[in-house]
Structures are given as structure tokens and as C-alpha cells.
């Protein structure tokens, strides 16, 4: 990411330049969208959050410090909005959507290798979604966005020790789930061979 031109774009945006907003959107939309998707596990919500994040950037451009990198600000707003969204979403709706997804997936034909890959990805998706929100956000920023513990601490405005602890417990939970998943797979293999 070109930090120098991000700075210039923020300055232009603070003057109300919509073209600058469009350029910043093009530059960071994937990162924002995928972070929101990893936290919410919901494509529609990720699209809405993407819009919300950049609308906030436009509305509150004057509060953004142009001398600092923009990415941490975007991460902070994305995780905060995703967190609020998750809190508000009703449980029944989530269960219903998961069911619809499973039904839709079952009808899709795929090769063996592709199916294996899909299975692996599906495991990660489900495992991440099963984590408590506080752990999930840290795991996503660390593993998907490659942010350091120090950077996550600054983004979420929490102490380094808290980041480490959430990362540790999130990681342990995921590892345990992976172990169980592997055992299940082996059992299925034995049954059919």
C-alpha cells in the first residue's frame, strides 16, 4: 500500500473530494470486505459493512490523522462495526442461513480434490465462526490480515497481554477442533475402506 498517496487522498477527502473516496475504496475494499466476512461469516453483512466503513471514512474524514497509516483505522472501524452487527443479529436467522448454505452446497458437483479443498476451507470457516467474538477478531487480524500482536493491540485499543491471551485461547480452541475433525474424518475413512 502506498502510504504517501493514502495521506494525500485523506487530505483531499477532508476537503470533500469524492474521487479520493473512490480511489481509497478501490485500494482497501478487499481487505475491509474480507475482514468483515471472516468475522461475520456472512457475505451480505460483509457487503453492508464495507459500505458503512467507507461512508464513515467520508463522514468523519476530518477526524482521521492523515500523517498516520490508514489501514489500522480501517481495521478498527471494520472490527467495531462487525462486532456490533454480530451482537444484533438474531440467533435463529444465523441457524436458518447455515441450513440454507448446507442445502445449497450439497447440490454442487465437484471433483475429489476440489471437494477436499472445500472441506478444508469449510472447516476453517466453521471453526472461526464458532469462536467467541473477542477471540475471533484477534485470530482474523493475526492470521488472515497478518497483523502483529503490537499492531492488533493498537487497532483494538487493548493491552498487548490481552491480545496474547485471546490469541492463545483462540488458537487452542481451533487446534482442538481440528484434532476432532481429523479423528472424525479417519472414522469415516475406516467405515468405507
Amino acid at each position: 500500500v502506498d502510504l504517501a498517496s493514502d495521506r494525500l487522498l485523506i487530505t483531499l477527502l477532508q476537503e470533500g473530494d469524492l474521487e479520493a473516496l473512490g480511489t481509497l475504496y478501490d485500494r482497501h475494499r478487499r481487505m475491509v470486505y474480507r475482514t468483515a466476512l471472516a468475522i461475520t461469516n456472512d457475505e451480505e453483512a460483509a457487503s453492508d459493512l464495507l459500505q458503512d466503513v467507507f461512508l464513515r471514512l467520508y463522514r468523519f474524514a476530518n477526524r482521521v490523522d492523515a500523517s498516520r497509516p490508514l489501514e489500522p483505522w480501517l481495521y478498527r472501524v471494520t472490527t467495531n462495526l462487525a462486532y456490533t452487527f454480530m451482537k444484533r443479529r438474531k440467533r435463529w436467522w444465523r441457524a436458518l442461513k447455515d441450513m440454507a448454505e448446507i442445502l445449497a452446497r450439497e447440490t454442487k458437483p465437484s471433483s475429489e480434490k476440489l471437494a477436499e479443498k472445500e472441506e478444508e476451507i469449510d472447516w476453517v470457516r466453521k471453526a472461526i465462526a464458532s469462536l467467541p467474538m473477542t477471540h475471533r477478531v484477534v485470530i482474523v487480524l493475526y492470521y488472515a490480515n497478518n497483523q502483529s500482536i503490537q499492531e492488533i493491540s493498537e487497532i483494538l485499543e487493548i493491552p498487548v497481554g490481552t491480545v496474547k491471551s485471546r490469541l492463545y485461547y483462540g488458537r487452542q480452541t481451533l487446534k482442538k477442533k481440528l484434532g476432532m475433525e481429523k479423528e472424525l474424518r479417519q472414522e469415516v475413512t475406516y467405515e468405507f475402506t
Binding site: 457475505e43 502483529s148 488458537r171
Partner: protein, 118 residues
């Protein structure tokens, strides 16, 4: 890009990171997102909306309505904030998620009237 700095990083972490990124790489934001964003941004007020601006707009647009209603109604003190503020919001282009709106909705009738008299 930062380097990972957690103690005990192993192959499993590499696997987790790769799988997570593989999953997310399958998705791209909607193609019409930029157009929608710019359209929405154009429709927003040029200055950030704050509580004072919002209340002044409210006064300018609905003061007469509120006043006549308050004179006619016997229980205006409980009805006024929610009924008229919500009605105003639904007819305006103010986005329902704004912090200012949430603040305003939490104001008591007494505070709204104190403001109007100010």
C-alpha cells in the same frame, strides 16, 4: 507486512493462516459497491452532522407542527419526542443509524422544550 511474533509458531499456524486466507480469497466485494458508495456519499450533508445541526434542522422543519400538536394534545409530554421525531426522521434523508439520532431519541421532552425555548 508484519512478521508473526507469537511464541510457539509451528506448521499448524501456517496451515491455519493459509486455509483462512484461501477461504477469504474466494470472495470479492460486489462489483457495484463503489457506485453505491459514491451515490450514498453524494446524498449526505457536506458538513458532518452533529447534534446541534440536527436539532436546528428539526426546529426549522417541524417546530410549528410540534407546537400546535403540543397545544392540542393533553399528554404531549410523553408523546412528543418519539412520535414527531420519528415522523421527521422517516420523511428526511437522515440515516437511521446516525449517532445523533440515537442521542436525540434519548432526549426527554423537557430537554427538547428547553432547547426550543433557548
Amino acid at each position: 507486512m508484519s512478521s508473526h511474533d507469537m511464541d510457539g509458531m509451528d506448521q499448524w499456524d501456517v496451515y491455519l493462516g493459509r486455509s483462512l486466507r484461501d477461504w477469504l480469497a474466494q470472495y470479492t466485494p460486489p462489483v457495484d459497491g463503489k457506485e453505491k458508495l459514491l451515490q450514498h456519499a453524494r446524498s449526505l450533508p457536506t458538513q458532518p452532522l452533529n447534534l446541534n445541526t440536527f436539532l436546528h434542522t428539526l426546529v426549522r422543519n417541524v417546530f410549528q407542527k410540534i407546537f400546535s400538536f403540543s397545544l392540542l394534545s393533553s399528554n404531549y409530554s410523553t408523546q412528543l419526542p418519539t412520535v414527531y421525531i420519528n415522523s421527521f426522521i422517516s420523511q428526511s434523508d437522515i440515516t437511521p443509524w446516525s449517532t445523533e439520532l440515537q442521542l436525540l431519541q434519548s432526549l426527554t421532552t423537557r430537554r427538547v422544550f428547553l432547547f426550543l425555548l433557548h
